[in-house]
């Protein structure tokens, strides 16, 4: 049993419960539910920072060009960006496919939820600053370049599904050994493992908090594996992270959506 925190859809307060992945059962307030019997809201409220090129395979794709224009040299520090509030949506909420686009890039990533203010942390106790982990789908309009901040591709409404819950860190023995899988319409499209991170969760926390403070409730995304799967209109997208659960969202044309629902 893993200790989890989540939000019911439409209810402001966080609830706590437990989750058993083998049986897919959630226990909350002494009652048991299947995951698909509940509806979830975004369980996070802080700033969400994403990290680019932190999987060995993703880095290797850009590496041949790193001494050329416009990059000129390999990166030294973590390459960060922000997934702003307008992008955050919960499990089960539709991902809007913007007008004029047919394909979305699915960015399966582990979200490290910060438990207390973290500034210049040490590697040995970096995980003391972590409350737990969640699943994030860092959606983008497909693009190649990492030269300029890609907010027009990454910061569109609904481009950051999160959840369904935060699993307490004590349920995860090693965050750097978690299988990451993406299914589109039930078919396995991507499989990777956080063991392929260039900067481990601990090292990333060290290198990020060396120059900026992470606050309680902020979330640091560890990176997106190479060969991000493509999703199209009406596709069901499932991001699964070992030991945490599954985050499921469907892609719907933005013109068919009002708020989080279909017209």
């Amino acid at each position: 049993m893993k200790h989890i925190k989540f939000k019911y859809h439409g209810i402001q307060q966080l609830k706590e419960g437990s989750y058993q992945s083998e049986t897919d059962l959630i226990e909350v307030d002494g009652k048991q539910y299947r995951t698909n019997e509940l509806t979830f809201d975004v369980p996070l409220s802080g700033t969400i920072y994403g990290t680019a090129l932190n999987y060995k395979g993703a880095y290797a794709k850009v590496e041949p060009f790193m001494y050329e224009e416009p990059y000129k040299a390999p990166p030294k520090a973590p390459i960060l960006y922000i997934k702003p509030m307008n992008t955050h949506i919960g499990n089960g909420t539709f991902i809007p496919l913007p007008d004029g686009f047919e394909e979305l890039s699915i960015g399966a990533t582990l979200g490290v939820v910060i438990g207390k203010v973290a500034r210049k942390v040490n590697k040995d106790n970096a995980l003391d600053y972590v409350e737990g982990y969640t699943i994030v789908n860092d959606v983008s309009i497909p693009h190649e370049s990492v030269y300029r901040p890609a907010y027009k591709e990454k910061a569109r409404d609904g481009f950051c599904p999160i959840g369904p819950w935060i699993v307490n860190k004590h349920a995860i023995t090693n965050p750097n050994e978690l299988g990451v899988r993406v299914y589109i319409n039930g078919e396995l499209k991507q499989e990777n493992n956080t063991s392929n991170l260039i900067r481990s969760v601990e090292q990333l926390l060290v290198d990020v908090t060396d120059f900026m403070t992470l606050y309680e409730g902020d979330t640091l995304l560890v990176g997106i594996p190479e060969n991000a799967p493509i999703a199209r209109e009406n596709d069901s997208v499932e991001v699964e992270i070992e030991g945490i659960g599954k985050l499921v969202n469907k892609v719907i044309n933005e013109n068919a959506l009002v708020g989080g629902g279909i017209k």
């Binding site: 960060l80 702003p84 027009k152």
Partner: protein, 253 residues
């Protein structure tokens, strides 16, 4: 009207400018130096423009002005209020201020046309968007290590109602370091004007009330040192005072 958020005697309050000082929400009138100034808006989503003045783009040796706005985001960690202290690490060789007009969004904006853009503006304030150029890298440039450091974006003192600013696209900007003028420009020289930026951003994402757009800086980037008093000023909007401090103040380790 000019609005502020301040801390006074242990309480955070809204305040407004009056002739003889600042008037707190509870009615007390106090001196400007008696309060701790906070950012006039609690930062949520904050956009910043790079290379939005042709002279500054040239100064940074870009041959052509950008075709699309160069936009990046900042986190809440980087903001501090008027009369605050900004930390300069000892290993840095080039840290410069950037005086910028900050536009505060007043209502939810999606797919707004530039002709209607000002309807979505609440008001304006002044930001100083410090850059620590030693850390500049060409990945998601300008990267967060240059632009999103703790205390490196002073903002304030006032949020000025838009009704009080006749033409936001014709305001003088000026920075002084220890009283000496080091940067002068005008918002008239922006490549992408405030209405165009609102049209551009709201064209692909929803802007929310309280979101802030820092609109870029003109040329005049000079290194600042520990102990310097840096004042960024925009005509009719305000005069934002900041002091650079070093490791002896921040006790980093």
């Amino acid at each position: 009207m000019k609005h502020a958020r301040v801390a006074y005697n242990g309480l955070i309050q809204d305040a407004v400018e009056v002739n003889n000082g600042i008037k707190l929400h509870d009615g007390r009138i106090v001196k400007e130096t008696d309060v701790t100034w906070l950012p006039p808006v609690e930062p949520q989503t904050v956009f910043t423009l790079g290379l939005n003045f042709a002279d500054h783009a040239a100064e940074l040796s870009f041959k052509e002005a950008p075709k699309d706005p160069l936009v990046f985001l900042k986190g809440p960690n980087t903001f501090i209020g008027h009369r605050g202290e900004t930390y300069r690490p000892s290993d840095v060789t080039f840290m410069h201020y950037e005086c910028e007009l900050a536009v505060v969004i007043g209502k939810t904006a999606k797919n707004v046309k530039k002709e209607d853009a000002y309807d979505y503006v609440r008001g304006y304030t002044v930001a100083n968007d410090y850059a620590l150029r030693d850390y500049l890298e060409n990945y998601y440039r300008p990267n967060l290590r240059v632009k999103n450091r703790d205390t490196c974006t002073p903002i304030g003192p006032w949020l000025v109602d838009k009704e009080d600013i006749e033409d936001p696209m014709n305001l003088k900007l000026r920075t002084t370091v220890n009283g000496k003028i080091v940067q002068e420009g005008t918002t008239a020289d922006m490549i992408f004007s405030v209405p165009i930026l609102i049209e551009y951003l709201s064209g692909f994402m929803t802007l929310n009330p309280g979101d802030i757009i820092l609109t870029g800086t003109p040329k005049g980037s000079v290194d600042t040192k520990v102990g310097d008093e840096v004042i960024t000023e925009i005509e009719g909007v305000g005069k934002l005072v900041n002091t650079i401090v070093g490791e002896e103040t921040f006790q980093v380790n």
